[in-house]
Symmetry: C2
Subunit: 540 residues, 2 copies
């Protein structure tokens, strides 16, 4: 099934200890450098990051016979125990991940294994189950919730199962608008392959340039065009999954009442039940027309009212996002308009794609104006679109400058949105204050539903104590606040290991028992991603 | 939680051995009586149906101490072992169910128990698990797939758990557009309670007048306005469920990546994992405007092309259904236009509700005309709306006249739709031919998705052999054809017992193992709806 012939390579190799293409990394914009002391006081530069060659790993605990058994499936050259491969698969791209990449001694998987087909994945899982080797499925490596930590559970070794060779457009049903993609296909590769046939998937999370189709499914991703095309969950019409105890092919029809929808058991399963190898998705014709418009609201509350009315009305924008006052100010600063930086107000970005865009914009404009919004023209929306995947580069620059920067996100109903935002903001601020760190908390809404919306927080802080410990405590307070105030522990970043301890508060003891029961059935030796989603003590 | 104060009683008690309100039952329309001999030859009248008082049941196998233990939870008057109550809960409303209601000796549950709250449901499940009494959750009694058969599995008794007292609108969040309804609330009660506050759910399956909100969830129902408001699955934002081993409350936010969506484990679970006691649903403001338009296409193929283009374009009708040539002919006959009855062509009904209806109709009309459709005005669409819940009454009249009548349904992608229809039609015809029964097979599309659509078959036949045996064989052939031709075993009727033997072909052995693992965890003594969804030999 590896259709490498049809593959279009447009994805570069990601920086090992930061985000994205090393060539695109940059210094802090001047405006940000000027703003930081105002927001956070004087920041101390950290020790320089280590070079890849300076990193020290434990020796691989794979035995020769393990290596041979894995090589028997994929070939010896695809069982990589080099330090570089192991370091590159040592984690994801949360800020704690990146901080850990700055240390000399690092944890890593014992090998990286590169299967080339569904059948090779299935065979590797059987080998690893037999030999009690833990397996961490690895797509684009962009997890920000600790889903890729090389945790071996009770096993003697752990391998990273890199799915990059499962890449390509396997089938396209142009009549039905359905595409089957190999799970390791990256966002840009998928869109390039589809675009060559006149189609688009339309899923653009911030991780788009590196993350994979299988990762989007496993983590229940949501993209920037979700107002128009829905979250990734809603795009998936079929899945093929290899588990240690058998394969499963799901999704015979666009709607069904043939028992519970088992696709949903694997969406969000983050590699703990099996490895997704193929994903069938709904696709649409590449839209030809596009309109941009930015709006300014008096404050976040007014902006939320505008978003709610537009969303409940329907037939609005493809992209719809609202930045609160704090984020609006800094976004303007980034664009070099430092003079206006601390102006009041909350900004909204709208992008319209596809059919009826003029009517959809007119409808949206009427609602926004009725609520008190003022159009600020196309420019800011176009600028946002140009830079929309570049946020993580800015984080790298901030970390290099000694500024802690991280994000977290949740969602709730419209009626609870302002309360949830206030509680999480307060928890973040209080957490940093407790260790005497000045912080600046920003928030935006970027995913909307008829009944509610997401909240995405970006926080920067001037931490003088240990940043990993400090953030663990602050993040814990934020998680507690989210659950106490009725939010979900994650809207689209997933559970990973970072949120696993909070999941039971969300889905209850009975919910955790359901997940553990499925896990025992499909992965009885518990080799798959130990400790992710279900805390280790609950998964046996 | 039983908010009977807020209850609006608009649902009548259903006829015990047929559909609906006895006062609405009617003789066959004259046009149908004239048409039947042409389609099926001369039909023999069956023996008259038995009266309720003539039905003989096995004595209740509940012991006195069982009865007392149940009465301790709900009160003695709510443990009903009368013959009438037991007969009224002896099954659903499939044609085989109705044929069995014509026999003197009938199987039935040993008692009907009527809990009044979530906590009473939970307590009853514990009592029944302790005493090894099987439990059949019972909503409106409208299952057409054998989900309500009084199967006791390996247990010594079986009770019907009638949820009618769990009725009412428990909460309405007007800002978010979310309503929480008690699971036993019927469709009309739910809409009346919501309408009093200016809201609508918009879920109108043919069973609407009797079926319950919990049943819609448990069976993954889909209603006639699904083109506009989606299938019931997509309306559900939260669930409360009692299981024999613990409660679960699901749905903290409109979108989430907090592990797999466990709501989807219970949607379609048909009472085998637990009893749904509350359902939170997305609601919308009652639409004020409505437009009707019927269309005529040269044939079913052309009509399908029209539906596909309209659906993939988006922003079309609220109701969209296409009858094939055979169904179009008979529908016209029912309306008394016998002269035109055998005219060629396939008819489409469209209804537009809510916002932008003129623009949506214009858009749809342009597509239909481009494909070759011709508008036939408002009348036929209005007539359809008036009679849309009355199909089951016609079936009763046909059965009384000796004409077998039953429905079945499936779904697939647009590219496979004509193939699937041809294969199922051929299987039905061949099945009846084999026993020398003349038959007439009709089909419509009533649920559309960007990637595909449903197929709903209505078959009438002149069966001279045993109708139950004959239909079991014919239906088996149709099920085989559905799965061989890529369809789902059910689009919205669910699995029940009638489809359980085919489920493994659809979801695979691994899929059945997942369901069985969840069942073992939540219902270890296997008291809940034994034999439904998962064949009995697979659920332990």
């Amino acid at each position: 099934m590896s259709s490498e012939s049809g593959r279009v390579a447009v994805t570069s190799v990601m920086r090992w200890n930061g985000w994205g293409d090393p060539a695109r990394a940059s210094d802090l914009p001047r405006a940000v450098r000027m703003l930081l002391p105002l927001l956070l006081g004087r920041v101390q530069k950290p020790a320089p990051a280590v070079e890849l060659a300076e990193v020290s790993l434990e020796p691989s605990s794979l035995r020769d016979d393990d290596r041979q058994a894995l090589a028997d499936v994929v070939g010896a050259e695809r069982v990589d125990t080099s330090s570089e491969a192991r370091i590159r698969h040592a984690g994801g791209r949360s800020t704690p991940d990146l901080l850990r990449r700055r240390e000399r001694q690092q944890a890593s998987p014992d090998a990286v294994v590169l299967p080339g087909s569904h059948d090779e994945v299935a065979a590797l899982l059987r080998v690893c189950a037999d030999r009690r080797i833990a397996v961490i499925p690895f797509g684009g490596g962009t997890s920000v919730v600790g889903a890729l930590e090389p945790e071996r559970g009770t096993h003697r070794a752990v391998v990273s199962l890199d799915l990059r060779r499962l890449s390509g457009l396997l089938r396209l049903d142009e009549v039905s608008g359905e595409a089957t993609l190999a799970a390791g296909t990256t966002g840009p590769d998928a869109e390039a392959l589809l675009a060559a046939r006149g189609f688009e998937l339309g899923h653009y999370p911030q991780s788009f340039r590196y993350a994979t189709i299988g990762g989007f499914a496993a983590a229940r991703s949501s993209g920037q065009s979700s107002a128009g095309y829905g979250r990734f969950d809603s795009m998936v019409t079929g899945l093929r999954v290899a588990t240690p105890t058998g394969d499963i092919d799901l999704g015979r029809s666009p709607g069904s009442a043939a028992g519970p929808d088992l696709i949903r058991v694997f969406l969000g399963s983050e590699g703990i039940f099996g490895v997704i190898t193929e994903v069938r998705v709904r696709v649409h014709r590449v839209p030809h027309d596009r309109l941009f418009e930015a709006w300014s609201f008096a404050d976040f509350t007014q902006g939320v009212e505008g978003l709610r009315r537009v969303t409940q009305r329907g037939g609005g924008p493809t992209v719809l996002r609202l930045s609160d006052e704090a984020e609006t100010a800094v976004s303007l600063a980034q664009l070099g308009r430092i003079g206006k930086a601390l102006a009041k107000g909350a900004s909204v970005i709208t992008v319209y794609e596809g059919d009826d865009i003029a009517a959809r914009r007119a409808r949206t404009s009427a609602i926004f104006e009725a609520v008190g919004g003022v159009s600020s023209g196309e420019r800011a929306a176009e600028d946002w679109l140009d830079g929309r995947f570049d946020g993580p580069y800015l984080r790298d620059s901030l970390l290099d400058a000694g500024v802690f920067c991280e994000t977290l996100e949740t969602a709730t109903t419209w009626s609870n949105l302002l309360h949830l935002r206030a509680e999480v903001t307060a928890a973040l601020r209080a957490g940093f204050e407790e260790v005497g760190a000045r912080s600046y908390v920003m928030c935006h809404v970027s995913h909307v539903y008829p009944t509610g919306a997401s909240l995405y927080f970006t926080v920067i802080a001037n931490i003088r104590s240990d940043p990993l410990d400090t953030w663990a405590a602050v993040k814990g307070r934020a998680n507690d606040a989210i659950l106490a105030a009725g939010g979900t522990i994650s809207h689209h970043h997933a559970v990973g290991r970072d949120h696993a301890a909070w999941l039971e508060q969300e889905i209850g003891e009975t919910g955790v028992r359901i997940l553990a029961a499925i896990k025992r059935e499909l992965d009885p030796t518990c080799i798959l991603n130990p400790g992710a989603v279900i805390p280790s003590d609950r998964s046996r």
